[in-house]
Amino acid sequence: ERSTRSFNFGAYHRLETIYSWMDSLVAQYPKLVSKQEIGKSYENRSMYVLKFSTGGNKRPAIWIDTGIHSREWVSPATGVWTANKIASDYGRDASLTSLLDSMDIYMMLLTNPDGYAYTHSNDRMWRKTRSRNPGSMCRGVDPNRNWNAQFGGPGASRNPCSDSYHGPSAHSEIEVKNVVDFILSHGNFKSFISVHAYSQLLMYPYGYSCSAVPDARELDTVGRAAVQKLTSLYGTRYKVGSICKIIYQASGGSIDWSYNQGIKYSFAFELRDTGRYGFILPANQIIPTATETWLALKHIMEYVHKNSY
């Protein structure tokens, strides 16, 4: 599976395979795609972003991350398909081409590389990072409770053995810090999209509070239109709303942090499924999931492109 043509997008892959596929994507589209290492994980694995750019310097950009919770395998699998879609549609799809002529897209396919590797080698249901917690037998921090967005507030656990443990301090997890440093040093992100999996939701801030963000109405409208397009393909039903209102109050989340940094178009997806398979969504559903998700992602990206701020 060394070339993008023979790669099986309808299968789950190990971290090494995905990393090597990223190289082949860069090789196939050298004028559009590049790979950047933004740091190392706790266990010293490289953390890569794919940059889709047609030139310029620090153009307004869109961030998409997949796989922050390691057991949600369909999230990075969808990311791989999406990255390939963006590369192959540039020059063919008019709206994507127009977007990439003035904006950049950054994709981080494996945001929690240690956790992902661990789900392949030891515990398929692992969710967190793999860092050691001093004074505890239990390892790992929930990387989506570790951002500096009312860190340690409601909806996060102080118990290192919990799957939603927030960690000792905001950005204590090197995986989170690497992303934070990258986003801040870039300074021109207009959209931040985090892709999770399970239970079919499209959410916007806040998670730490149930009060509405100033842009709630606009985000809700964009989200509903995006989901309408997603649903049009296979009838997959999504709920749209703020994290706090449609799942639960959760502090320290990534899109709350990005929104508070001024990145207005901050969204989080929860991809399929309805609960029949949980995190073991059959591989034959990867491409349908990615294909429908693309319609929503594209809608959000087009909106961001047309509504620069």
């Binding site: 789950y12 515990d123 398929r124 239970s199 799942i247 609960g275 949980g278 995190f279």
Partner: protein, 94 residues
């Protein structure tokens, strides 16, 4: 490598605030090692819990004692994982 033989995933369609509270209390029962896939927060959303085989009886008793009906979504998690692994091996061969 960790096995999940006999682990079940159950779904509860919450009907009342009392049921939510009883399920939230269940979340703090650390010795049962429950893995909440969907947490108890409102009557609008189901609650999904992966229950290790060793805790199945205790959890069933608890839910019955509180009058909380549930259905089994995944009967044996390991079976699904075995299928997934076989599929991955086959894909690698291809």
């Amino acid at each position: 490598e960790r096995l999940f033989v006999g682990d079940q995933v159950i779904r509860i369609n919450v009907e009342s605030e009392e049921q939510i509270q009883a399920l939230q209390a269940l979340e703090s029962q650390e010795e049962w090692k429950l893995d909440f896939w969907l947490h108890p927060v409102s009557a609008d959303l189901p609650v999904d819990i992966r229950v290790p085989r060793s805790s199945l009886d205790s959890v069933t008793e608890y839910l019955q004692a509180h009058g909380i009906p549930f259905s089994v979504m995944i009967d044996n998690l390991q079976e699904l994982l075995d299928q997934e692994r076989a599929e991955m091996v086959q894909n690698q061969r291809m």
